[in-house]
Symmetry: C2
Subunit: 376 residues, 2 copies
């Protein structure tokens, strides 16, 4: 989705792809085959680029640091990428910056005793998280007591998993939110309206923009976004995921985690904001003036399309979805698998209900039924 | 500009390009080198495509007809392309369909006597047009009397130019307008709001959407668009250029000419309409449901960027233009030459003045001064 933004501004993209049939390689002409986890591949790739940036975080941060030391321009920088890859580093950084986070403790290796001690100190349930590598709900476990803690550690140890574990107090959240911030090298930021992200099974299903929040809370969320962006020194787009506890004017916000790249919670911006997150990311990493983050309609809704349980390909139902007037469809060019994010549908409306109704109708047509996977 | 629309819907484009550094070849990975004026190149290219379509008209229509006879799917079809390439064929077709056109006569070869006879019958000035190959004001001459007619024919004959010439009555136009119509193979159409096109020296400089017309005239323009699309049997986007004579409720419309492809007069749709003309063209030629043509704001303005007279490249001033909030920039990846269309700037607004002000500010920044080439 970065490619269309680059085309409009005549920015020449060079893509580092692991395979020639990666989805991005199907739409970018200038492809270098290699792995973002191999220092040599990264070095050879970076040598031909004015600026290196990312649309995922599975990159070797140490190799990026070496490239920076050699004078390459990496945005976001290696230090930011390292923090974004590690939930324990995020907690430490945000604690130091005074951002509201839940009580946490880092266990250097999975240990039932450490989880139990944390639960006894902060109450159950305890949320255990792999500090690195989690995605779409994987690597996060909610433990309701000592027995569950023992089972988790036994399972991880049995699988040979010795990575650090983060123990956190469970947050009694009422909604999940996200704030998208773009930041230039000099520190200038632009913040998008706060989004409500509707999750199921740890996977984001739906975006509602603007999030239904009192103005003071929305302003606080934007402020947290700016502070988080500064705390990790991001250049480019940062998505800050937040928990809302309580509702209305009595609500409070708790920082969950970040992504330092264009993010699923910002896909609504392609049609819904004056500047898409992809164009904004390019502007930021090129140190160009940031664009307006204004909404283009009173309400925007985005529904993620997950691969249907029957394994069928939503593309086979594209005609029916295109017949839904006012819905904007995006298909990612990936092979269909049940539960895989294959695309999204966005709609604008005069009201949240109108926008959501259109987006859901289009998504339901693509996944084959109104109550299937990928619709709310 | 078709590539971003194709990316969103996971449509795999294959491009026939004359050179590997053509602007389109820089953004489409699957490029076949060849000439659209060579039957063999077209045939080899078409063999690998489900549907063949066009973003320009410099194609060998006879070769397309042969491909259709061989079973290839060409949209728009060879017969439509042939009419779009020839102003004399357009006049004949629209006369037969009862569309409002000026008096005209086809001169099979340039002949001063024929032009003079036409001027004596219909009055001076007479508009002489090369029936084929005109573009951006080239191939159109306004003759104020017999002497000018003699000079034109002498010049054409001296240059070895023996192509047919169309003589037309001069239309005392007050505005130029364009109607964009998308048409599917079965005849279903979608019509965009009528646009005012502001021309200077035969080159479109500016689009104003919606055109300032009484509702009845706007409805008539839309109806002419549908009738013209049906008359030439287009599949895909058709741009119908119209002259407005008079103003207000006393105004009347005269058909000028067509383009059977996404057209400069529709570039505003990328941000200004619910469905861009490029996505709409793809939908139409794939026989998919057409999208909404609704405006996304009360007013939309687009300014074409012409290469500055000093030969400088507008890209060198991109940062300044990006600082204009709410303007959407498009650069075409072409080498800068004075007067060449290098891109455009679009802005939305609550009023025509607001939209136009933003678009002009961005365009002026790109071309280097507020009163330069390419701005109004």
């Amino acid at each position: 989705m970065t490619a269309p933004a680059a085309i409009a501004l005549d920015i020449r993209l060079r893509l580092l792809a692991e395979r020639g049939d990666d989805a991005a390689a199907l739409v970018v002409p200038d492809v270098v085959l290699g792995s973002p986890r191999e220092a040599a591949d990264l070095a050879a790739f970076a040598a031909g680029c004015d600026v290196v940036t990312f649309d995922h975080e599975l990159v070797d941060a140490a190799a990026l640091a070496a490239l920076e030391a050699a004078g390459r321009t990496i945005r976001p920088g290696a230090a930011t990428v390292a923090v974004a890859q590690d939930k324990a580093l995020q907690r430490a950084r945000f604690a130091a910056a005074g951002l509201p986070i839940p009580p946490f403790r880092l266990l250097e290796a999975p240990a039932a005793a450490g989880l139990v001690a944390f639960g006894e100190a902060h109450g159950w349930p305890v949320v255990a998280k792999a500090s690195r590598g989690g995605y779409d709900g994987r690597g996060v476990w909610i433990l309701d007591g000592p027995a569950a803690a023992g089972d988790l550690v036994a399972g991880l140890t049995g699988a040979g998993e010795a990575s650090p574990l983060l123990a956190e107090a469970w947050v009694p959240l009422t909604r999940e939110l996200a704030v998208l911030v773009a930041r230039r090298p000099g520190g200038e930021t632009a913040v998008y309206p706060v989004v409500e992200t509707v999750q199921r099974d740890g996977i984001c299903r739906e975006l509602r923009v603007p999030a239904p929040l009192p103005p003071a809370l929305a302003a606080t969320a934007a402020d947290l976004g700016r502070r988080a962006a500064a705390a990790v020194g991001v250049v480019g787009i940062l998505a800050l995921e937040l928990f809302l506890v309580g509702e209305g004017d009595g609500g409070r916000l708790v920082v969950n985690e970040i992504a330092a790249r264009p993010h699923n919670s910002g896909h609504w911006t392609i049609e819904g904001a004056a500047t898409s997150q992809f164009e904004q990311h390019l502007r930021a990493v090129l140190d160009w003036p940031l664009g307006s983050t204004d909404l283009r309609a009173p309400a925007v809704a985005t529904i993620n399309l997950l691969g249907p349980a029957d394994g069928s390909d939503p593309r086979s139902r594209l005609r029916a979805a295109l017949a839904v007037s006012g819905a904007h469809l995006h298909l990612y060019g990936k092979a269909a698998r049940p539960g895989r994010k294959l695309g999204h549908a966005t709609a604008l409306g005069a009201t949240a209900e109108e926008a959501r109704g259109r987006a859901i109708a289009a998504a339901a047509a693509l996944v084959g039924n109104g109550a299937g996977e990928g619709t709310a």
